[in-house]
């Protein structure tokens, strides 16, 4: 394997994961309250829905798909051993991939054109959106032009990723892959490397406990009609803390 492949598929993943780990921990310790993704829903809501929802549901399914193939490749190969199941898996994955692309293009368009959203945009927002665009484009191209990705991911890329995580890197097969796949892999490592410096950190603090938490009722302990009546004195509800 030549030096450039050695760097891209052995050196880069370790550099990326090191930056990811140290950077994320540092950011959380230094500016914990800024570990989030600044919402712009208050500034613009209509376009956001048709961009954010397809993007997020798409990327969740696509990401979990990649994760499953990485964790239990034999399960994926067993599932794909039936051609109908293989087709169902590939078409579903492709549909969610399109969902990501449509959502992402919508998000970028909204961010670049809406004056209010523009005001709260920083450089890294643009950088990460463009990186994700390259990643999604390459992913969809691979799905179309190098099918059946679910099977060969389980057969070739899962062992490669495991070899990285177990510190016994073995990248000969990856080095011989077509360009689009190499691009997808390298760009994935780059995204992991810039992760701590972007709004992607919100993935780590996703409020999953909201799913199982009891719902909250908001109760006003005063007469709503009285408060809304301009004639009534507002000592009725005067706040005590300011």
């Amino acid at each position: 394997m030549d030096a450039s492949n050695l760097f891209l598929f052995v050196g880069l993943p370790y550099i990326a994961f090191a930056i990811f780990l140290v950077g994320t921990i540092y950011r959380y310790r230094a500016t914990g309250f800024k570990v989030s993704s600044l919402s712009s829903q208050f500034l613009e809501g209509r376009a956001l829905f048709w961009a954010s929802v397809p993007f997020h549901f798409g990327i969740l399914v696509v990401f979990l798909g990649h994760l499953t193939a990485f964790l239990i490749p034999s399960g994926i190969l067993a599932w794909n051993s039936n051609p109908v199941r293989l087709l169902v898996l590939q078409v579903t994955a492709f549909a969610f991939g399109i969902s990501v692309l449509v959502g992402l293009v919508g998000l970028i368009y909204r961010r670049l054109t809406n004056p209010r959203v523009k005001m709260v945009t920083n450089n890294m927002d643009i950088v990460i959106e463009l990186m994700l665009l390259v990643q999604t484009g390459a992913g969809l191209y691979i799905g179309y032009a190098h099918r059946w990705g679910a099977s060969w991911f389980a057969a070739d890329l899962s062992p490669y990723l495991w070899s990285i995580f177990l510190f016994r890197p073995e990248a000969t097969a990856v080095a011989a892959m077509p360009f689009a796949i190499k691009l997808h892999i390298v760009n994935a490592f780059l995204i992991i490397a810039v992760f701590p410096f972007t709004r992607l950190v919100h993935i780590l603090v996703a409020p999953f406990h909201y799913i199982s938490r009891p719902y909250q009722r908001v109760i006003w302990n005063w007469d709503r009609n009285l408060v809304r009546n301009p004639a009534s004195a507002w000592t009725e509800t005067r706040p005590r803390n300011n």
Binding site: V10, G11, G45, A155, F167, A173
Partner: protein, 285 residues
């Protein structure tokens, strides 16, 4: 600021230590010429056993210079492209380029020494299974078709061939397009070449996919039988374009998803709560 610098210094140090550890671990111990030959070359080349998929390598060092061989083995296609007459002649004779080999100069020299020593006689791939007698049995063809698309799993649970390979045949679904299409592989390589490659893949991607999951001789025989049948019946097939179906199916399913998104959140707030305030500001500007 000081704190930040120390942190980044530490990070860089850790990364470089990690990298150097990896660097030390990666170079594999040099294998013997015989081992490497059997693993990398034996699928397509014999030593004194006649032409297989590639030329017989007996006396190759007398036909070519060592420098030429060192350059050729690493990237045959590049060499043919650069206009080397001998490489072009080989490409024309065998009809397809030899795949690039991930070997060092030392490996190649060890292989050449092994070849010069006579290569232990006959040659050929390590335990290449016997070629099926023509025409192959219907049972083998059927088993081969099932193995090819995974309906019958390989004994050691290796991935099905159609993960990466396509064949033009109505008996199986469209295969992958990561690797070469195999419709006419049997015509090009014949039974010995085909079974040698399946039994001992010389391509890095395929080698990694079947590492520790070698196919049994019976499985290889069935696959070769199927590929022979595919090559023979090529003209009679009505293939489906799976690539475009994937595109259409995916887009259709996405539209269904989009409707679902709209339906699930049909009672969403269409505008931000302070939309009216924003509008007022824009107007007053």
């Amino acid at each position: 600021m000081n704190k930040t610098i120390t942190l980044w210094t530490r990070l860089l140090l850790t990364a470089s230590v990690l990298l150097s550890a990896i660097g030390m671990a990666s170079p594999a111990a040099a294998a013997s010429g015989e081992e490497t030959f059997k693993k990398k070359c034996g699928a397509c080349h014999s030593i004194g056993g006649g032409k297989l998929t590639g030329p017989d390598l007996k006396g190759v060092t007398e036909r070519r210079t060592e420098a030429w061989i060192l350059q050729f083995v690493k990237s045959p296609q590049k060499m043919a492209d650069s206009g080397d007459a001998a490489a072009k002649a080989l490409l024309a004779e065998f009809g397809f380029p030899m795949p690039d080999q991930d070997v060092t100069d030392a490996d190649i020299k060890a292989i050449l020494a092994y070849i010069a020593g006579g290569g232990g006689g006959g040659g050929g791939g390590a335990a290449a299974p016997a070629a099926p007698a023509a025409p192959p049995s219907a049972a083998d063809i059927e088993l081969g078709a099932k193995l090819f698309q995974g309906l019958v799993r390989f004994e050691k649970s290796g991935p099905a061939c159609n993960s990466c390979h396509h064949v033009k045949n109505d008996a199986v679904i469209g295969g992958g397009v990561l690797a070469r299409e195999l419709t006419t592989v049997f015509t090009r390589m014949g039974a010995p070449g085909t079974s040698a490659i399946i039994g001992q893949p010389p391509f890095p991607v395929m080698e990694a996919a079947y590492k520790g999951r070698d196919l049994s001789p019976a499985e290889v025989k069935a696959l070769v039988a199927f590929l022979q049948d595919v090559a023979a019946k090529e003209a009679m097939q009505t293939p489906v374009d799976y690539g475009n179906n994937l595109l259409i199916g995916g887009t259709g399913l996405f539209l269904v998803l989009a409707c679902l998104y709209g339906l699930i959140w049909r009672r969403r707030k269409q505008l931000p709560v302070n939309h009216a305030v924003f509008e007022r500001q824009v107007k007053s500007q």
